[in-house]
Symmetry: none
DNA sequence: TCGTAAACGAGACGGTACGTCCTGTCTTAAC
DNA sequence: GTTAAGACAGGACGTACCGTCTCGTTTACGA
């Protein structure tokens, strides 16, 4: 349930070669590798234990020894699959992020923009994703071995979704024709992560006010937000 | 040089009683404590070593044993002053952040808003603060013992500076009368931190586009940004 | 080449049932067991790898994983044949010891006694047996699962050979009529193993002096050894 | 109680420099080394736990983790003092061997020779020394880092004691004038170690028969042993 | 000018977790 | 049913740091 995440970003430095064979090769070649195949049950148990422990104690206090114990697994079984705690938690993170990326086309630009913000804020507020990514922000920001794959998958996907919303909004003449999708992403989602780190409620009302500000601006001469 | 930070937020959990006596008590009472006084040289050496090591290896990989060794100091000398690695690094962080908060009043709202953004982006890009806070984002986000004092000092100070800019902008009729200073902070600085973590250049041109977007909005009916 | 050792002492605890079928059953029944027959090549490769590795790293540092790797064999193939590291090395040891037991009847008691000593000292000095048994002395002395079969085969055989020498020597009136064969074994071979463990050359000259001492004793009133 | 063994053979490869400073330096220089001094209580607890566990499970199955646990000590405290399990057990071994070396001068050569044998056989039979050395024979025989110090202390001391017995026996005209003390050691003690490894009772009666054989020899023309 | 008392560098202490290695067993496809 | 390959749960390895402690020494004040 946590496996087969939609992004192919694990091949870089984290997953070992054997793992890639099993996970990524053409289906017809599966099973050609000799030896006992890796246990999906162990894999799932490890990720589940990791998720629970990250929620309980946070990333910094997460101990692979405890993950192994809770998963009922030898430590080597973890290290066989992931090079480090970061790699393990990255896979968990990608799996947790996946459901919160897509923005549905509903025909109304403001509603779609709102989805962009609430997708992020609800994921951070209501799911394990928030706890996990809080613990990984520093690694993502400082360590390219973790940050690059994260950016190449989750961030890129989110930027792409928002770009489509912007494109549709321009087509509907709801948005300025020169609206920059990347800047839109940063203006819509940046405040959410700002609050995640530096404090502030991640409510739907906050999301709504972010969207209105992005639409109408703070300038005195700007059009007033439509009352709703 | 790293001491005497402008915020008095260290008393909560971090600094021990003896330390407070020395640092904070009325000058006439200094020296009343018997025994050899604490060494300022050691204090500075510890903070300098901490700064260098956070830059070199990040917060997670920072080891107090290494700090002590590099500072030429016994471990107990560190523990005598700070309860934990977090407390030590917090003091460093506050000292590094202090110079990058203030926004000068120049009479022009857009310029002042631009300062709000470039203050942040240049601090992150050009000074040790950027490297250090990259390594501490997770702790600030997850660990209230570090996050709360940080929010109560640096973040609050930055929000207050931006609030003054907003107030002046409203007074000048440059900004909508109902402009929310907190939301303004999040819209102006959020994108900067978004790029810090999730990738993207922290250039002055980026800062400029953020300010324009915040001023004029993305909506089609909004006034176009002044060409410059 | 290492198989078919002359002693039948492996059946006790060490060899498993399947192994016995193959090795010991009537030839006409060989091959009646269904399935692929066991590979003699694998068997020999395992024993050869074991011998080489015991010589290289000793018994304690011997790892069955390394034996399997060097023999080009799966670990299970080893465990299918021997219950443990001890059992494997015991078979090796017995094969190595076998050629060094027999003492030829030559008609001269002193020469035959000398053979008893040089048999041992040359085996320890010149063949793989010396290196292997050096690494196994502790196991033989401490672990009955290895020591008992070793004593029941190699030690017993050596005692029996020496007993025959003693019997012949008494018959020739070269030896005291009450000479104890077991004590003779210990007096003749004990010094050799003493030197093996506690230092000293295992030369033929040493063997010669041991034999003379055993024949004539250290007492002042004893007959002088014949000059030769 | 187990410390300060009478032999200075630990300096070779096993004890680290710091340890030597503490243990061996001139008393007036003790305490010059900075830092907290090593705990004698911990040292003793470790050796006691080691002795008990070697007796319980043998050398091969001895686990430093268990030693640490039983001694109530951190693993690092063991590794700070000894480089390896072998080095630790060697110190124990030397302490255990020390009381069983000396042979008292009683004026009677046979009695003194008997002491040489019973010293060894009783030590092996009745004290922890027997269990411990059984587990270390292979290391002593194969690993010069353990064998050399053992030979340079215990074996050398025993050879020296026996040499004195031989010298006194020659002076008393009880022993042949050309009796070789080293060969005597091997003939007297070799059989004891032979039985230790290869089986046989280590009784006082056995010791007595060894001594008589060494005195009178097995040859038919040798003088009969004095009946006693 | 001393004694008192706390801070100092150093490093040992009991612990916890690391990442690796090996054990003996099990599971696969191939033969 | 055996083969090579290799994953499995478990446990010990030797190392690295943790936060505390115990040394001998140093530094400053008050008596």
């Amino acid at each position: 349930m946590l496996r087969n995440v939609p992004y192919r970003i694990l091949d870089g430095d984290f997953r070992d070669a054997a793992s890639r064979n099993v996970t990524d090769d053409h289906p017809l070649r599966l099973g050609l590798r000799p030896g006992r195949p890796r246990s999906d049950a162990a894999h799932r148990a490890i990720l589940d234990a990791t998720r629970d422990l990250v929620i309980e104690v946070g990333f910094t206090q997460l101990r692979l020894e405890h993950v192994a114990a809770r998963a009922g697994v030898g430590k080597a079984t973890i290290y066989r699959r992931w090079r480090s705690k970061e790699a393990l938690v990255l896979e968990l993170l990608l799996a947790l992020a996946a459901p919160h990326i897509a923005v549905e086309e509903v025909g109304d630009t403001r509603t779609e923009l709102l989805s962009c913000v609430t997708n992020a804020s609800r994921a951070l507020n209501d799911s394990a994703f928030g706890v996990v990514i809080r613990g990984l922000l520093s690694e993502i920001a400082s360590n390219p071995r973790l940050g690059d794959p994260f950016r190449a998958s989750v961030v890129l996907a989110r930027r792409a979704e928002i770009a489509q919303v912007i494109t549709r909004g321009i087509a509907r003449d709801d948005l300025r024709h020169d609206a920059d999708p990347d800047l839109a992403t940063e203006l819509l989602v940046g405040p959410v992560y700002f609050r995640l780190v530096f404090g502030g409620e991640l409510s739907d009302e906050f999301a709504s006010r972010v969207v209105d500000s992005v639409l109408h601006g703070f300038g005195a001469s700007a059009s007033a937000p439509v009352d709703r």
